[in-house]
């Protein structure tokens, strides 16, 4: 297959954008519906990535890819889900400040463990040995196919989120985020609901982490910095926290603009890319976040419109 038209930078950029969209969609379930401000997104993503990577590299597999990949990815997903259970159990009854500190703290713990557990993770030096679970002939071809795999996974997440808005489960999440004591008084088990939400969305983040590890083919602590959380958070808030498409629109506008247009297509001096631009990017993201919260808190797409949705679903 001739892939000359496809730039390696573009594949990388799109891969990153797609992954952040996936994370922002899962964050939307937590923050946009249930109003749980999870600032530890990268922790769940990272623990999935490392759990996948360590098992994949260290295990003595009796069978080859793609089965080894699938088992390891399932493991990464499960470990992230368990982390979600633990963190969710700790934070489910805390107020916003408590949730912020708890989730941020968890992400820090994951980052520190990745650095200090050298025997497992390779520490600060990182760990190689990962590869695509297939080989279609060229590196670029493999990467392009992996981008398609990720896109399919994110599409499934998007479809799930879309459905959640249209079923009793979504209404329950919105209700408990909106007025938890009232939801409780209607007999809703709010604690258990939040716990399960955390387990499932964290597991999804862990799966995305596993997919990312394959793409990078190398695990290192610098991959799991807070910039991942910030990218997902800024994208979601910019697009519209409570809208299904908020994550997609916002992440394209924020991360897409930076990581694809500016990084790949603007004729800027080379040294800017290593030094100036990453810092500039975080500054702009911070400024965007402040500006959106000040001038359009509900994001580009605006508020959730349950009245429109109800008319569409149950109107005569």
């Amino acid at each position: 297959m001739n892939l000359n038209w496809l730039d390696a930078f573009l594949i990388s950029g799109l891969f990153f954008v797609m992954m952040i969209i996936g994370l922002a969609l899962l964050l939307h379930l937590q923050l946009g519906l249930a109003r749980i401000a999870n600032f530890g997104v990268v922790g769940f993503w990272g623990i999935g990535m490392y759990a996948f990577g360590v098992l994949y590299v260290k295990a003595d597999w009796p069978f080859g890819d793609p089965w080894a990949f699938l088992v390891a990815a399932l493991f990464g997903t499960l470990v992230a889900g368990l982390a979600g259970l633990l963190v969710g159990w700790i934070i489910a009854d805390l107020d916003t400040d408590g949730v912020l500190v708890g989730t941020l703290g968890f992400a820090t713990v994951v980052s520190i463990l990745a650095t200090t557990e050298q025997d497992l993770t390779g520490g600060a030096l990182g760990m190689g040995g990962l590869n695509f679970p297939y080989d279609i002939g060229s590196v670029k071809g493999n990467e392009a196919l992996w981008l398609l795999v990720l896109t399919a996974v994110v599409a499934v997440i998007l479809y799930y989120v879309h459905r959640v808005h249209r079923v009793p489960y979504g209404r329950l999440l919105i209700g408990l985020g909106d007025n938890e004591p009232l939801a409780r008084s209607l007999g809703k088990a709010t604690f258990r609901t939040k716990l399960w939400l955390f387990v499932l969305s964290s597991a999804g983040m862990g799966l995305l982490g596993s997919l990312f590890a394959v793409k990078e083919r190398f695990l290192a602590p610098e991959h799991i910095g807070i910039d991942i959380t910030i990218a997902a958070m800024v994208g979601l808030v910019l697009g519209g926290t409570s809208r299904v498409w908020g994550a997609v629109v916002g992440v394209f506008l924020a991360v897409g603009l930076f990581d694809i247009i500016i990084q790949s297509y603007l004729p800027l001096p080379r040294e800017w890319y290593t030094q100036g631009i990453p810092v500039f990017r975080e500054m702009v993201f911070g400024a965007v976040l402040i500006a959106v919260l000040l001038f359009r808190p509900s994001g580009v797409l605006g508020d959730m419109r349950r009245d429109k949705l109800m008319r569409k679903m149950h109107g005569e």
Binding site: Y160, R163, V164, R166, V167, P168, Y169, R171, L172, I174, G175, G177, D178, N179, P181, L182, A183, R184, S185, L186, G187, K188, A189, T190, F191, T193, W196, L197, L200, S242, M304, R306, D307, M310, R311, M313, H314, G315
Partner: protein, 261 residues
């Protein structure tokens, strides 16, 4: 007196805030009559007692039990359960202050109330029509009776929100319904309609109702039995005539116009 209707038994419960005792009730049974009133001056502890029964306020001391409907079923110790379990046991309370879901429409709110836990599982991605088809009739019964301006939109006024709160409770088909100042904020005609529906349901024996209310005319006309609270305790119990005949108590706390003739 009926013994088949579920009742609530309050045993020696107390609650104080910052060292000030707000509720200290030795023994109280609610639900012997279809509709009972709980009255008393501001600060008597009525709302706190209600919240303690629902366990949305913790108890410093004492036990609250739900006594079973008929022979063969065990009493449930409500004060050991989290607030989210009350509705399952048939105990539901409406709210004194306006409580609403800002993001949810009137229809959403009612569907949320009637959805079962099994409808609300994370991977039930097509459960909406099941719930809607199952509950449409009972929801429209209330929507037809109480005209909301826009049932598929958001509640428009404080009155609509208050009404919505009560309908949410009724849709749960409670066995014991606690109404905390149901008429505050409702227009007179809506108030009368609400009381008519509640009175009819109570009369069939479907549920026991306990009303906390400042509008004493509602109490005198609707309730068969009245508990009078003052300074955290129940000081007087009896039918409305009996309460109103206690001139000194009634005059001290409620004003002379409520002393029975």
């Amino acid at each position: 007196m009926s013994s088949t209707r579920p009742r609530i038994e309050v045993e020696d419960v107390a609650k104080s805030f910052d060292g000030r005792t707000v509720v200290d009730v030795e023994s109280l049974v609610l639900g012997d009559y279809p509709i009972e009133g709980l009255i008393g001056p501001n600060g008597a502890g009525k709302t706190t007692l209600m919240r303690m029964i629902m366990h949305s306020t913790s108890l410093d001391r004492g036990v609250v039990k739900l006594l079973p409907e008929g022979p063969g079923s065990e009493p449930v110790t409500l004060s050991d359960l989290p607030p989210s379990r009350m509705a399952k046991h048939g105990l539901v309370k409406s709210n004194q202050v306006i409580m609403d879901f800002e993001q949810l429409t009137v229809m959403d709110s009612l569907l949320l109330s009637v959805a079962h836990p099994s409808d609300e599982r994370p991977f039930h991605l097509f459960a909406e029509s099941t719930v809607y088809e199952r509950e449409r009739d009972s929801i429209s019964w209330y929507l037809d009776r109480f005209g909301f301006e826009d049932p598929l939109g958001f509640a428009r006024s404080a009155g609509e929100k208050k009404l919505l709160d009560i309908i949410r409770c009724l849709l749960l088909e409670p066995k014991v319904l606690l109404l905390d100042e149901p008429t505050a904020g409702l227009p007179d005609d809506v108030r009368d309609q609400v009381m008519e529906v509640i009175g009819a349901k109570a009369a069939t024996g479907e549920m026991a109702v306990v009303i906390v209310e400042h509008d004493l005319d509602v109490i005198w006309s609707l309730c068969e039995y009245v508990h009078f609270m003052a300074e955290g305790s129940v000081v007087l119990q009896g039918d409305p005539e009996y309460i109103r005949a206690h001139a000194t108590v009634v005059e001290k706390y409620l004003g002379s116009e409520h002393v029975g003739s």
